[in-house]
Subunit: 183 residues, 2 copies
DNA sequence: GCTAACTGCCTCATCAATGTAGCACTTGTA
DNA sequence: TACAAGTGCTACATTGATGAGGCAGTTAGC
């Protein structure tokens, strides 16, 4: 593939991720226009709308898997792993701001998805065993709440670096936002 | 208005809320079918798709305003007000499960929206002043995180009552999910 | 039971998005 | 520089959703 073609493909993917996150029914025409590319060019790379979305989701999953791997959720000390994981995912959320709720329904990525969920679930279990997380929580509560914390951090704390935003998220997750007296 | 007409209107609104929350681009035809009503009947009540969505959002806002009022965010002791507020909103989320992120962009409800935001912001400020919430948090962080906690509680903790789910949310918000040792 | 309100069904025009095609042109690369 | 890869533009068929009209039949409420 030629260099400019690669560049265009990249632009379409990035722009598509951003616009589809903002509005899942964004049209191909709008995405192409925003990416500074002809609509026809998009169709040359992606056979259909579905295809483009699958590619965007795939790109995000690549990044997420990388972040999870880097966090070493199985071996690293739980506190360290948690922080690295959160920081990594916040960075991914910024690079590939896909609207996760809609993505999860796509069957395209069922297998990869299950693997990641298992990975995180196992980590939560380990963190609970090792005394980092309370054990009296409703099952799945942490796994449900954490992603949306990271999503909010990614977009709401835009003036902070990923590491700083991760500090806020981890502190909020573990200690909450109440004062010591309020406990 | 005749009684059965009122009933149908109610069904359309409820069904519309549920389906649009699940997929904002749900068609009028699909909503009508799910509500057990002809597509034409929907159009008799609502001039357009926009109209229906505005009505759904309006219904949700009615409920939210009621909950906020009942929580007495200005006068009641902060801990009490917080709990009542959370419980009320969780109930609203279950009754009118609108996808908030998309709703907030609608200009239709700009004024009502601003009033509610101000109300909650003022409450957060008071809760901070009175020592319930930490004062070293990024501005707007609590106001950003709390709604999504309540949303998750509404749908994820479906086996709990609104009051029980509110316990979990408030505990998570104030004290986090970490063990005392992990702090 | 009668009337007016309300509904279901079929039909139609319109519009916007999808996906395809051919042609002239620019641009990377050897 | 020459060639091949890639793009922009214009046009077109298709599909699906929106919104409206008419009419026969049903149902609530007096």
């Amino acid at each position: 593939m030629r260099a400019d073609a690669t560049r265009n493909l990249e632009r379409v993917l990035r722009t598509g991720a951003r616009m589809l996150a903002d509005d899942p029914s964004a049209t191909i025409a709008a995405i192409a226009a925003e990416a500074g590319v002809d609509r026809r060019t998009v169709y040359r790379r992606f056979a259909s709308r579905e295809d483009l979305m699958a590619a965007v989701y795939g790109a995000r999953y690549d990044a997420v898997e990388k972040a999870v791997e880097a966090a070493r959720l199985r071996e690293a000390p739980v506190a360290v792993a948690l922080h690295r994981y959160v920081e990594g995912i916040i960075a991914v959320n910024r690079a590939w701001p896909v609207e996760t709720s809609r993505m999860l329904r796509e069957a395209t990525i069922g297998e990869r998805r299950r693997r990641l969920i298992d990975e995180v679930d196992a980590f939560v279990a380990r963190a609970t065993d090792e005394g980092l997380l309370r054990s009296d929580l409703p099952p799945g509560w942490v796994a449900a709440v954490l992603p949306s914390l990271m999503e909010h951090a990614a977009e709401h704390l835009s003036e902070l670096s990923a590491a700083q935003a991760a500090d806020v998220v981890v502190a909020t997750l573990l200690r909450g936002v109440g004062t010591p007296q309020a406990r």
